[in-house]
Amino acid sequence: MKRQQRLLIATFTLPSLLLYAYFFLSPIGEVVYYSFFDWDAISPKAFIALDNFKELFADPVFYRSLLNTLHLLAFLVLLMIPVALLLAYLLYTEVRAFKFLRTVYFIPVIVSSVATALMFQFIYENYFGILNTLLRKIGLGEYTRVWLSDPATAMSAVSMPLVWGQLGLMMIILLAGLQGLSPEVLEAAEMDGANAFRKLTRIIIPMISGVIGLCLVLAITSAFKTFDFILILTQGGPLHRTEVTGSYMYSEGFNLMNYGYGSAIAVSIMGIAVVISVLVKQFSNRMDR
């Protein structure tokens, strides 16, 4: 290779590589490193090896937060993906006002999570909130409640903004998958007299199973990394009722200054996310074959 070319490659890659290594790769190492210490930012770091993890695996709040993360995930998988699939399928079968509908479904995706959280706050508000007012108007007044602090509904109530905010993204991904199908197959199915429901369950869903798998992955990763809604709506309360892994890391690290313990939580979140990504890569490679 010519010397001039080598110099050129260095000037094109080194600045970004160095910045990336310093601000992205090294924090990955640092978060693992900090997780071996007991450290509150004031007193000096004390090396405690795996004690943070031992404590973590015996910590009922951590299990509570994992369970709540699964609750969130259940909403995404059992509610968001099916609705998104149905909407995508209906949009795919030529409809009037296609662009308008797609816009309405998609806008929540690009709305900031803070704005979304505050909008849902107005849905759940006790006295004049949309949900309670509607219930009173249709004569179901006895079902009104303080949705965000009632232990029975709090976790579901904080899950809904995420469902609403991501549904549009799932919808356009599934729609792109559908638009990639060859029309001949569907025409053949129509000739055989398959009805719409059979067509959807027997032909379309199997054919876009790769894309549905991708939506599952996105749902899993976003369940493990999203917590801004929760910070704004409940801060994990009441009594950790809505604590998820991310919000637990945030409150241990930034509110209680337990940097070591917070890092241990972060490491486990990262571990789960990476394991899932690897599993999915394998899965999608098998699908491609």
Binding site: P27, T103, I110, S112, F254, M270, S277
Partner: protein
């Protein structure tokens, strides 16, 4: 018989499509209408249109609640971090896509890994690092973070894009004695504009909306970006509902405008980017 069936199917289809659309639109409309109401009016008749469409809440949000400062901070942070990602990302992608050198695969692998790491799990070390660098409570810290965190996706999209540019153009340019820098500036960048535009739009929206990093890195009121400022309304103006609604509308409008103008790029960028990733 056939027509009845078609009618029923059509009704179900449009019924479902419009049901979901109506719920979403209703929520936006409720917030929009409430942003013109006083607290008393919201309490008394939460579902009615405002009695008179005064801009009081907007004026107060923009001026006394400092939304204007937050707004320009957000514009500043989002634009500079997008330029950062585009410049460094395109240089990297050019080297990876166009030159064979030892470590090429390793280099692109390092950036692809970045797409699998949940960024939120790096908050603690990033916070400590910015503290050490003295960049805490400085908008530069957000610009650096958003800019660097955008690189994996930039490399992913732009390498694919640049690889599809035919090599003949560059070969001809070399024969003409054109330098690699000129080639990058005069051939590669202009031909990559569609990919860069998609990237710029997605990254801008991402930076505009980012909350958790900004919430731990910024402390002073006059440095806040919109999401932090808005989240703080909940504490400072917790019972001024009309004002909060106005704040929500101010935050949402710019991204809706961006969407209206660039919807094809956004939809394509997000669906193909994630389908392949």
């Amino acid at each position: 018989m056939m027509t009845i069936r078609r009618f029923v199917i059509g009704t179900c289809k449009y019924g479902f499509l419009w049901l979901y659309a109506t719920i979403s639109l209703f929520l936006f409309a409720w917030i929009f209408a409430s942003s013109f109401k006083s607290n008393r009016e919201i309490f008394r008749s939460p579902f009615s249109l405002p009695e008179n469409w005064t801009l009081d809440n907007y004026v107060r949000a923009w001026e006394s609640a400092n939304m204007s400062t937050y707004f320009w901070n957000s514009i500043f942070v989002a634009s500079i971090s997008v330029l950062f990602t585009l410049l460094f990302g395109s240089m990297l992608a050019y080297a990876i896509a166009r030159f064979r050198f030892r470590g090429n695969a390793l280099l692109s692998g390092l950036f692809v890994i970045g797409m699998a790491i949940p960024l939120q799990s790096l908050m603690l070390p990033t916070f400590l690092k910015m503290n050490e660098l003295g960049l805490r409570n400085n908008l530069l810290s957000l610009i650096l973070i958003y800019g660097v965190f955008g690189l994996p996706r930039a490399v992913f999209i732009l390498v694919g894009f640049m690889k599809s540019i035919p090599a003949e153009l560059e070969e001809a340019a070399i024969v003409d004695g054109c330098s690699y820098w000129r080639m990058y500036g005069k051939i590669i960048i202009p031909l990559s504009v569609p990919g860069m535009a998609t990237l710029a739009i997605l990254d801008f929206i991402g930076a505009w909306n980012e909350y958790v990093y900004a919430s731990v890195l910024l402390a002073t009121d006059k440095l806040r970006t919109l999401p932090i400022g808005l989240a703080n309304f909940k504490g400072e103006y917790s019972s001024e509902y009309g004002l909060i609604c106005a704040g929500i509308v101010i935050t949402i409008i710019p991204v809706v405008i961006i969407y209206v103008f660039f919807q094809e790029q956004i939809v394509k960028g997000l669906s193909s980017g994630s389908v392949k990733g």
